[in-house]
């Protein structure tokens, strides 16, 4: 190599610019090994992260649920309508006073204060102190007997409970609503329909947050709403044989007072879970990534048809008054069909003879005697050469190959399988009614787990799997829709929910000659369970 020392930079650059040195084999192995551990750790971190996420969500859920259950006293209260619906007292039996427990004694004593309705409707009996018969609940925590917001010591009760033997009072048929019902929100009247137990109030040690119906006489029932500290929020005596709690007037926000005489405000929040299934149609919009191939995306737009897909998912949600925030996980499958036109080349073979003709001279020789003129009698045999031109015909068989191009149609199907994580906000109208319309919107994050592209050529009947399209794994959709929910009871509701999903970014990498946005229309069918 010639070196000019006056231009040392160029000398080194020219010499070493494209230098290549073969690395030893161990380097490749080390890189492979490190990449293996890198991917392994990445997966482990991902799984730990996922596990942590769900653990946090579950813990939060349990925490919220545990805490929110404390103030469930007003779950049976409808402050919107000031009604409690659908509770019917069934088949109460008369009993004699002497069969009763101490509770009946206190009832006759009639000393306790009561919290009564603020809203008085004409058809409802107004509760006054005179006609209130006070139920008494034994508190397992405090070991005290409490009548409304008056705390009575057991000893005092026994001493001051004259028994009226002539009064018909029932103790054995107390209907206790099944657990608390914290449906919808604080202003919602929770229908209590699924009470099932009939227990003697004296034998029931866990009647917090429940509605107690107590039959006093044949046509009289006493209704009490209890809070978590066993104070009575509202007592009302109703003179009907078959009692509907919807006829009971209840206050607005403050439904009663606890044993410390503090007002109790209706709870407003609750958790729920949704299980849903939806049928969907995904409509693709193909985008040019290069003007050079604009015709391809136009063609795809014209020829692609949506096909039926589905998704199934599970959502958890938390509701604040009319607004609920939902999140969850879903599996979705989107399908498309494409009538792909393609040109097919057809080869036709034909055999034919090719003739070749050649002209040749044919020699004809004839011997004859030639007399020598110099010597008499001498003669020599001399050949005479004549020629004539003949034509030889030869043939060779040839094969002619012809091609023809014809346009064919192939059916191409694309299948996209996603795991999705929706995060949506829901606003409910007409809450507390049998039918509750709602609107819903939010963001769905999808993770592509598999794509399958099949091309079916009708004339050949073959199925080709094509996995060359560079799809992007994560993607995002905006979702919005409106639906209606049918509240079956306080726990379950059914939902139908048409929605539209707008794809925020192409599902194909921009290295491809075209991009693809997949917008989806679907109808959701679901069931909600409210805690």
């Amino acid at each position: 190599m010639n070196v000019d020392l006056n231009n040392i930079d160029d000398m080194f650059f020219n010499s070493l610019e494209n230098i290549e040195v073969k690395p030893s084999a161990t380097v490749k192995e080390k890189i492979k090994k490190r990449m293996f551990y890198h991917n392994l750790m990445k997966n482990i971190y991902l799984q730990i992260g996922t596990f942590a996420f769900f653990t946090i969500m579950l813990t939060s859920f349990i925490w919220f649920y545990t805490n929110s259950s404390i103030n469930n006293v007003a779950e049976t209260i409808d402050t919107t309508n000031n009604k409690i619906n659908n509770i019917i007292v069934e088949n109460t039996n008369k009993t004699k006073t002497e069969n009763n427990t101490k509770i009946s004694d206190i009832n006759t004593n009639n000393k306790s204060e009561t919290t009564i309705s603020k809203n008085n409707k004409p058809e409802t009996e107004i509760i006054t102190e005179k006609n209130i018969s006070t139920p008494v609940i034994k508190s397992t925590k405090q070991d005290k007997l409490i009548a409304n917001n008056t705390v009575l010591e057991p000893s005092k009760i026994e001493q001051s409970t004259p028994i009226n033997e002539k009064q018909e009072v029932t103790k054995t048929n107390i209907v206790i609503a099944q657990k608390t019902v914290k449906q919808q929100n604080s202003n919602y009247v929770k229908p209590i329909t699924n009470y099932s137990k009939q227990e003697d109030i004296t034998n029931n040690s866990a009647i917090n947050n429940q509605v107690i119906l107590q039959k006093q006489t044949t046509k009289q029932h006493n209704i009490s709403f209890l809070n978590y500290k066993n104070s009575v929020l509202l007592s009302q005596q109703v003179n009907t044989q078959t009692l509907k709690l919807s006829e009971v007037q209840i206050p607005d926000d403050t439904v009663g007072y606890n044993i410390n005489n503090k007002p109790i405000v209706l709870p407003s929040n609750h958790w729920h879970v949704d299980l849903y299934f939806s049928a969907n149609y995904s409509n693709s919009n193909f985008i040019n990534n290069s003007n050079e191939f604009a015709s391809i995306s136009d063609k795809l737009n014209n020829e692609t048809k949506p096909a039926l897909g589905y998704n199934i998912g599970l959502n958890a949600g938390y509701k604040f008054k009319n607004i609920a925030i939902n999140f969850g996980i879903a599996y979705s499958e989107f399908n498309q069909e494409l009538d792909a036109k393609y040109n097919e080349q057809t080869l036709t073979n034909a055999n034919y003879y090719e003739y070749t003709t050649t002209n040749e001279w044919q020699l004809d020789t004839t011997l004859y005697w030639n007399l020598d003129s110099l010597i008499q009698g001498d003669s020599v045999m001399t050949p005479i050469i004549d020629s004539s031109q003949i034509t030889l015909v030869d043939s060779t068989i040839q094969t002619r190959v012809d091609t023809s191009i014809s346009e064919k149609t192939a059916i191409k199907t694309n299948k996209y399988q996603y795991v999705e994580f929706p995060l949506t906000v829901e606003y409910v109208f007409n809450r507390g009614k049998k039918f509750s319309p709602f609107i819903n919107g939010g963001l769905i994050t999808g993770l592509l787990i598999k794509t399958s592209t099949y091309t079916y050529k009708s004339n050949e009947g073959n199925l080709i799997q094509d996995n060359n399209t560079p799809y992007i794994k994560p993607n995002f959709w905006l979702v919005f829709g409106a639906g209606v929910r049918y509240n079956v009871n306080n726990k379950y509701s059914l939902m139908i929910y048409p929605y539209y999903r707008y794809n925020l970014k192409s599902i194909i990498e921009n290295t491809n000659i075209y991009g693809q946005k997949m917008n989806i229309f679907g109808i959701n069918f679901g069931i909600r369970y409210t805690f």
Partner: protein, 193 residues
């Protein structure tokens, strides 16, 4: 060197075969770059290994729409890895580790060397490798990566004047060492042949 876009896309998805193909295609050239920054092949292979790990883990950031080709993008990563490697392994300021012998090179007079000599690529590479680290970094960035002194100053956190000085000294030292090679008995014999 050409690389199918599909290979890069598959490499982005973490597919091993794509990583292997990229390595096979570029490892020679990239090790050549590493050799210029390292003191020997062993150190260069360490840099190469780190560099490829970075390439494979950061390939998701490579944008097909950028002006730079994939090889240029990869070269940039390898160079940065080499710079970091030298920084991480420095025991003291790499820009003040020049001994007296090296500074003597400043007295070299280039007009004496206006002659045509023959020197192999391997020897030239060795000359670069034997440069003090500070000289080597500046010389490499300026000569091969075509960095300006301003860019070098930013990259190495030094002043522009330091960069210029280092480059000047590097050139002088290289000239001196080339002269020594020429004057060595072995080289003279080679030249005579």
């Amino acid at each position: 060197m050409a690389l199918d876009i599909k290979i890069i896309s598959d490499c982005k998805r973490g597919k091993a075969y794509a990583q292997e193909q990229i390595y096979d295609l570029y490892s020679g050239a990239m090790l050549g770059i590493c050799m210029r920054y390292a003191k020997d092949k062993s150190e260069a292979e360490d840099i190469l290994q780190e560099g490829f790990i970075k390439v494979f883990t950061k390939i998701g950031l490579y944008d097909f729409n950028t002006v730079n080709s994939f090889s240029a993008w990869m070269k940039r990563i390898i160079v940065n890895t080499a710079l970091n490697y030298i920084r991480d392994n420095k025991k003291h300021n790499i820009f003040s580790d020049i001994d007296e012998e090296n500074t003597d090179a400043l007295s070299y007079e280039p007009e004496e060397m206006e002659q045509k000599i023959t020197i192999s690529q391997q020897e030239i590479l060795q000359l670069v490798q034997e440069l003090p680290k500070g000289y080597k970094l500046v010389f490499n960035l300026y000569t091969f990566e075509k960095y300006s002194h301003q860019d070098i100053a930013i990259e190495l956190s030094i002043s522009v004047s330091t960069s210029k000085t280092q480059l000047f000294k590097a050139r002088k030292l290289l000239q001196k060492r080339i002269k020594e090679k020429i004057n060595s008995p072995k080289k003279k014999i080679v030249n005579l042949v």
